[in-house]
């Protein structure tokens, strides 16, 4: 399945948007967290600044999000992870309300109740959570609903290489295979689960090979490349829409930043990320588009300008928004 011109340009622009979004967040996140503005004796204050709490950024992992989401419609469901921004952006979650949520503002997706790991956008059928391996079961549920209602809608569960060793992986793949649910399981293999290398957590080289344990196709995408992800996802999604059941896709991808912002990364070989960045998938796709005649200097500049505008607007919106009232904390436990 070849991407259309629109899909190609969308993937490129969306990757650029994600990258800028994450890099901006990396900076904004530091606001108010460093001396001398914090408690004496601290080097960093995770609870300080406009965006407190943990922050997991996905710079480098954009191909996974866009290669899959390029195939999805509004009514398809995506369940992301604790590192959710790239998925959310690729699924069409509005940047402004998403950012406002991370600023804890009342204009945020969850009126400030959820935060960075808990972005819920039912209108765009996106959700995520901070629990490793928790994306897979609810994605099965969305797929079951589609199937029971006779729709050709699909759902996608994203998860990391670390998550593939949670019991929920096994239970969900078995259930989905057994019931032929239209769900695509996409494993982002960035070689780490915090400090633990995949080789120290996973008894086989490739999680894709585990698909055989469920009698479903398992596909390994060897390169951190949007087009390769696009191909694999296209086949899997088409299969799911035809009612033939789930597919497991594993993508070898790269995490450019720390596990979370502030991660000392003591476990990482020095210079590793410099090496990884040499294969940055965004310039790679740009070069391909240029070769195909779909992009030139002016086009690239236009993309850069558009994404810069969007990102700037989103952060501005978030900053300008109001905090919820303290007593609002008591609302929304139940609808």
């Amino acid at each position: 399945m070849e991407p259309t011109r629109d899909q190609l340009l969308w993937m490129y622009e969306t990757m650029a948007l994600i990258r800028l979004y994450e890099e901006t967040m990396a900076k904004v996140y530091l606001e108010g967290k460093l001396p001398p503005h914090i408690q004496k004796g601290l080097a960093f204050d995770i609870g300080g600044g406009p965006v407190p709490g943990e922050m997991h950024l996905a710079a480098g992992q954009e191909p996974v999000a866009v290669g899959v989401c390029a195939h999805l419609h509004e009514h398809d469901t995506v369940v992301g992870t604790h590192r959710p921004h790239h998925f959310a952006i690729a699924k069409g979650v509005p940047l402004d309300t998403m950012t406002a949520e991370m600023f804890g503002k009342v204009t945020g997706l969850g009126q400030g109740k959820g935060g960075h790991m808990h972005l819920f956008d039912p209108a765009h059928k996106f959700s995520c959570s901070g629990i490793i391996g928790a994306s897979l079961p609810p994605a099965c549920g969305a797929a079951l609903a589609a199937k029971m209602r006779g729709k050709d809608w699909v759902s996608v569960a994203f998860f990391g290489d670390g998550a593939a060793n949670q019991g929920s992986f096994h239970e969900s793949l078995n259930l989905a295979a057994l019931w032929k649910l239209p769900v695509i399981f996409v494993c982002e293999d960035n070689k780490y689960a915090i400090s633990v290398e995949k080789v120290d957590s996973t008894s086989v080289p490739w999680n894709a090979d585990r698909a055989a344990a469920y009698g479903i196709p398992g596909v390994l995408v060897e390169r951190n490349d949007a087009l390769e992800v696009f191909q694999a996802a296209g086949a899997a999604i088409a299969r799911a829409r035809r009612g033939e059941g789930p597919t497991l896709i594993e993508v070898k991808t790269d995490r450019y930043l720390g596990h979370f912002q502030g991660d000392p990364e003591v476990y990482r070989p020095k210079g590793e990320t410099t090496e990884l960045r040499k294969n940055d998938p965004i310039p790679v796709l740009a070069a391909q588009l240029r070769r195909m005649g779909l992009l030139d200097d002016a086009g690239e500049a236009a993309v850069a300008a558009r994404v810069a505008g969007q990102v700037e607007a989103a952060y501005a919106f978030a900053r300008a928004s109001a905090y919820p009232q303290p007593e609002d904390a008591l609302r929304h436990v139940f609808v």
Binding site: L109, F120, P138, G167, F334
Partner: protein, 346 residues
């Protein structure tokens, strides 16, 4: 209109589900042995024959996956009813229950609804030992975001189940095996009662004063309501007038009815089958302790529950740790004879 007929609690629950499945095509059932077997405790009896295997689904023994599936389907607007066979198994799927089912609505700022029911069997008394006899409802009432429903009889069970299915929030529905009216387990007859044929609801958060009395208040729930009523009958013969309150739901909790009754009787006994410590009995006692400016107690509060031990298998041991009719009556007598609180106006 309603014909008078008695139903077991199991049949009443199954009827409630069937009526809602007829009314609303988005309601479906999934769980272990819910289809062909009709539910180990009969809560889904007859549903497979009526609605077929597309809507009454036997699952693998994968509680995380199928409860998570229910959550995902509910997020899409369907109304799943999942059965966790015994509450004792919650440990294999608690993450889905309390980190997702219970919190997603809140974390979404009310944008997401999860109209689902998770029903499960509780209770001991038939020597099924430490991993198949617990109540544990207080554990689910402790964490926020779950409505906790625990009926004591067939009438309430039907109405509360229909209320649960129609609720747009996640509801956990706990049925005690010893009041289901199963043909293979001893049960308390008070739980098999008259149930209207048509659909009706019993509201959440309204405790039921199942017996009025003036000397002491027995606050209780589930099978223990039936035990408390038997104890109250004994006490009556001895001249002690016990008021028995069936909480019916722990979340929402009808503290007003409890406080009003204790204000009237001046004496509180909490009779619970869950673990004694850090649970229901403590919560009820605390509600009263917080209102001692308006409630005059005539005796210290008393609590009954399983006293900090797993449920033992052997009959004499199990009978000892689970409060029985006689335990309740004895505690009531002890309260009636006990010294009055010494707290006095400053």
């Amino acid at each position: 209109m309603s014909t008078a007929r008695k139903l077991t609690m199991a049949a009443a629950i199954a009827e409630a589900i069937a009526q809602e499945m007829e009314r609303d095509p988005e309601v479906f059932v999934l769980g272990e042995d819910v289809a062909k077997y009709g539910g180990i405790f009969g809560a889904t009896q007859g549903l497979l024959a009526k609605f077929g295997k597309e809507r009454v689904i036997d699952t693998p023994i994968s509680e995380t996956a199928f409860i998570g599936t229910a959550i995902g389907a509910a997020a899409e607007g369907m109304r799943p009813i999942a059965e966790l066979m015994f509450v004792d198994f919650f440990g294999v799927c608690m993450d889905m229950i309390y980190n997702h089912m219970a919190k997603n609505t809140y974390m979404s700022g009310g944008n997401l609804r999860l109209p689902m029911v998770l029903m499960t069997a509780i209770g001991g008394g038939y020597n099924d030992a430490a991993q198949h006899s617990q109540c544990l409802y207080a554990t689910f009432a402790h964490v926020p975001g779950i409505k906790v429903v625990v009926p004591s009889n067939a009438y309430d069970a039907k109405g509360l189940m229909i209320e649960a299915i129609r609720d747009d929030n996640p509801v956990m529905f706990f049925f005690h095996k010893g009041i289901m009216g199963l043909p293979w387990m001893a049960f308390f007859e008070g739980s098999t009662n008259e149930v209207p044929t048509e659909a009706y609801t019993v509201p959440f958060g309204k405790a039921n004063v199942v017996r009025e009395g003036s000397d002491l208040t027995i606050v209780t729930i589930s099978q223990m309501v039936q035990k408390a009523l038997l104890a109250a009958a004994k006490l009556e013969a001895e001249g002690i007038s016990a008021e028995v309150i069936d909480l019916r739901t722990l979340v929402p909790l009808d503290s007003e009815t409890v406080l009003r009754s204790v204000a009237k009787t001046g004496r509180l006994l909490v009779a619970d089958e869950d673990y004694l410590n850090f649970g229901l009995s403590g919560e009820i006692a605390a509600l009263v302790a917080e209102r001692l400016d308006t409630i005059a107690l005539k005796a210290p509060v008393r609590r009954l529950g399983v006293p900090g031990v797993p449920i033992p298998y052997s009959r004499p041991l199990e009978q000892f740790v689970i409060p029985q009719v006689d335990t309740i009556a004895a505690a009531a007598r002890q309260i009636m004879g006990s010294a009055a609180p010494i707290g006095v106006a400053a």
